[in-house]
Amino acid sequence: MYVRSQPSRGPTPRCRGFTIAEMVVAIFLTALLAVLMAAAAATFARPAAEVDGRTRLALEASLAAEALARDLSGYLADNSGVPGTLTQYQFSNWIPASDGSLVLNYQGGPSPAPASVSVTYQQQNYGLVRTLSSPVQSVVVASHVTGFNASLCNPDGTPNPSTGTCVKIEITLTYPDPSSPRQGNPKFSGTYVLIGVQPPPLPTPQ
């Protein structure tokens, strides 16, 4: 049995604390690190979030415009696999509804298909839905849609609900939309305006 000997004399190790100067330096370095991290977040994280949101808006707007451009071309895309004739699925008229939706009518469907087919664009659950009447088919052409409105207008965009020759389509996109699990800021919203021009009348055959 032995007992721990007494500490030897000489340079005895002391468990010393830290001086006020060391603490000030440590606090200063911690603050400097916090400032650097905040600056890094402001420099990289915010632009990244902004790029993410605005890219989503631009992409969804392009998808919506692409779908509308396809249906406002003058003819409805025919899935029969043949070009058909110039009277088949020709654009007939558009009807902006009171609820903001847009109905595009086409005529000349070959038998046994229905003679007239309509395509409806309307906002449903923060999405822009394109609905074909025959065969009944609904497709979400754009997401993050918080506003969709179609109305008759003049070629310069001024509203003319009675005799307007063009249709003004306003699409408001918001990211994140209210249905998104991620809420709060930053939040981006953009309003895109498309003016549909009627196709020229069918020229007479030679």
């Binding site: 190790p13 990289f44 632009p47 605005r54 451009a69 071309s73 003058g74 930053p186 953009g190 030679q206």
Partner: protein, 173 residues
């Protein structure tokens, strides 16, 4: 009875070594490495911003609303800002002319009905008409061929057998 000789406080001092802290030079090197690492992220952000500008310049909104973190809503004109176009550097770069506010886009069908039917897509323009799209006053009779190919497509090959040119002759009526 055996008593522990070492303890937590004395273990580092058993051989006479002192626990040393970090030198200021080491801290500075650590910060420098952190800065270099953060600076390495810059190209990614810049690349994303350039792609965003390219994407938005093709199809601009009439207005953007931006709710920043801890701030209110800010509505601004589309990127790049209209003032940007008036800067001397941009004018000197011979950049494209900006579309005038309020940034309306027109969906203009083609004048040729067959182009309408076969392309099945309207033109996305910043004007109500396309001056380069010729007006069609008459359409061919039904069944009349519009485009014929009088001869087969010929290929031009280089010494390695790679195709360098494709020649197709078509006749348009």
């Amino acid at each position: 009875m055996k008593v522990a000789r070492d303890s937590f406080l004395t273990s580092g001092l058993r051989f006479g070594h002192r626990r040393r802290g970090s030198w200021l030079l080491e801290v500075q090197i650590a910060f420098a490495l952190l800065g270099i690492g953060l600076a390495g992220l810059c190209p990614f952000v810049v690349m994303q911003l350039r792609q965003l500008v390219n994407l938005e310049s093709r199809f601009m909104a009439t207005s953007y609303t931006f709710n920043s973190v801890g701030g209110g809503a800010l509505t601004q004109s589309p990127w790049p800002y209209p003032k940007y176009y008036t800067t001397p550097s941009y004018i000197a770069s011979n950049g494209p002319a900006p579309p005038g506010p309020p940034y309306y886009y027109y969906l203009v069908p083609w004048n040729n009905p067959w182009v309408q039917k076969l392309t099945t897509r309207a033109q996305l323009l910043t004007a109500a008409s396309n001056t380069s799209d010729p007006t069609v006053t008459s359409q061919p009779a039904a069944g009349f061929p519009h485009v014929t190919q009088p001869q087969a497509v010929s290929l031009t090959l280089d010494g390695n057998g790679n195709v360098t040119a494709v020649t197709a002759v078509v006749q348009v009526n």
